[in-house]
Point group: none
Chain length 188, copies 4
DNA sequence: GATGAATGAGCCTTCATTCAT
DNA sequence: AATGAATGAAGGCTCATTCAT
């Protein structure tokens, strides 16, 4: 089994699946993209579905996600959160094909739905753990840290997926400081 | 043209598309679900793609979205935001099939991607307009209101789509008050 | 469901399967033989295997076999056996395609093997029952009637299948009278 | 050219062909069964069909058949026929795989049909020659000896192939003595 | 001798779509 | 409006075969 060829097929498959969707991408497409005969694909994978799973094996990034979302507990949120959100954002950009693919296929493929759900929740809980540590440290007030983790990360994904734009630093400052006006004004 | 039959087909199509995905749902599936012959579908729609568009025509909910996300400008955010988030959440629940379908198909169908992007951004901007009004009213501090609108809405969608759970009220309170601890503690 | 078209497909399938063997006969072959598009076959049958079963449903001939092999018990074997063997022979000729097909496929398809085994044994036992009656009637001597039934029928099948030739009447007379020389000769 | 490897391939091919049928057995199956790479098969055989022929070359048993079916002319049939039938039966049991394979493939492969026809007829004629000798010797009455040869052998094959059972000795006694009742009874 | 990656034709099957009734 | 037989273009997959190593 030549790993090189196998990897080439997996990577090309990811591109195709992300671009056209799993069922619209044909084995022939894939073969052409790799400059090989269609039959060869079945030398490396049992089936198209098996290939899809192989794509996940190779391009899944739960580990990276956890690394990015888990700063050391003793660094202050005010300093670290922007790094985290930025890192999360960069990871999504780097893995955009994969993300678009999994978001799509998870909607109808139960196995993939489970994976993508797990990935999302793992990310949230990892970050929440850090935030909880900062609550304990007295930097942050006691609150639902899973929710604040979601408020930091979910807007980033949706923005990537819908072409929306916004400053990541604003996310952090809104969350840290809130949006309520605490200064006295003449109006109210 | 029997409107009833047409509507029946569209609704059944939505269910099917949401459950199995557009490509995996067949015209025969649809016909069976409606108890009619496959050929009949083509009396009401030019093609399968045309049917997909008809589903959007009937089940798109930009209007509802705007209604839910636009409270009257003179009501305070502290009072209104939970209603808004809850209303948004309920709308997503009610339209879950549609949402799952569009999220999926938008990943690969440019026309649908445009619609879903527009829908998301419309929602965000609608809510942002209200928030901006509250900044002007002095209730909220000056900030990037589009971002805060995203922080209110995006976590809700992602939670629905990934089976995550969390209190909606926590979203509102985190955003309004921030998560920074402002009380003096022994530690800091 | 147009029975006519269905029957046409089944009959053509029988010819093809008998001539080329089940796996060498293609759906395209079949469609061409019937002057229709390949896809149409699947309007009438779930799969190629389903079609094979339908061929059995329509062309199996256990009933005819039993009719041919069961004369009335009171007619003497000396009179009736030639009719039986001839009738059996004629039935095989008439159903040659089916027989060749089942003989072939039974070798590897367990379900078909069961059917063909049952068919063969049913035939043997039916004829044996008649012979037993003739033993009881005193016309035939007590003996293993299942074996004599086999000696009457099996040579006929094998001859058909291997292009061998021989007088059917000889089979009957050999069996009835034996081949031992009972006259005195000078030699022995 | 390693004869050992070649023989191993042929024997494994016979098993596979008998079990699954020629078309359903793949070269890969064969290679796996022998623990070698698929390509190696083509060092020993030009093609799959060539391999099939090689199986015949090695496993055909016309010689054995003739040996079994040709007793010395001066031994009496009454003594020898049971040996012959039993020997024929044992040969079929020993070569069951081959028999099942050839029966199957002969139905559709003209070349194999010729071989199997020839084999059957050779057997019949060999035995018939002996029987004719016994007629000349006065032990047996003049009759169609080819038919009696068939009546001795064909039931045995069919029984093997259809899971039927019966005493071989009954075959011999039915044929030698006939089944007609020659004793006086009250009835007749 | 031996490997196994690579080929490519062809198979079964699916499915959007058409159309005569 | 409604049917469902019929089409035909792919699509996933298999497999005998080749060939560079």
């Amino acid at each position: 089994m030549q790993e090189g060829r196998r990897n080439q097929l997996i990577d090309a498959a990811l591109s195709l699946f992300a671009e056209k969707g799993y069922e619209n991408a044909t084995i022939k497409d894939l073969a052409e993209a790799c400059g090989v005969a269609p039959g060869l694909v079945y030398h490396y994978f049992d089936s198209k579905e098996d290939l899809l799973l192989a794509v996940f094996e190779k391009h899944g990034f739960v580990a990276e996600l956890e690394r990015v979302l888990l700063p050391s507990f003793d660094r202050p949120a005010s300093e670290v959160l922007l790094e985290v959100v930025q890192g999360y954002h960069d990871l999504l950009v780097e893995r955009e094909s994969f993300v678009r693919m999994i978001v799509r296929e998870a909607m109808t493929n139960p196995e993939l739905e489970a994976r993508w759900t797990a990935m999302c929740n793992t990310g949230v809980q990892t970050l929440a753990r850090y935030l909880t540590a900062r609550v304990a440290a007295g930097e942050l007030r006691p609150h639902d840290t899973e929710i604040s983790a979601r408020m930091l990360t979910h807007p980033v994904v949706v923005m990537r997926l819908t072409g929306g734009s916004g400053q990541l630093s604003s996310i952090v400052s809104c969350l840290l400081d809130g949006i309520t006006n605490r200064r006295k004004t003449g109006k109210d």
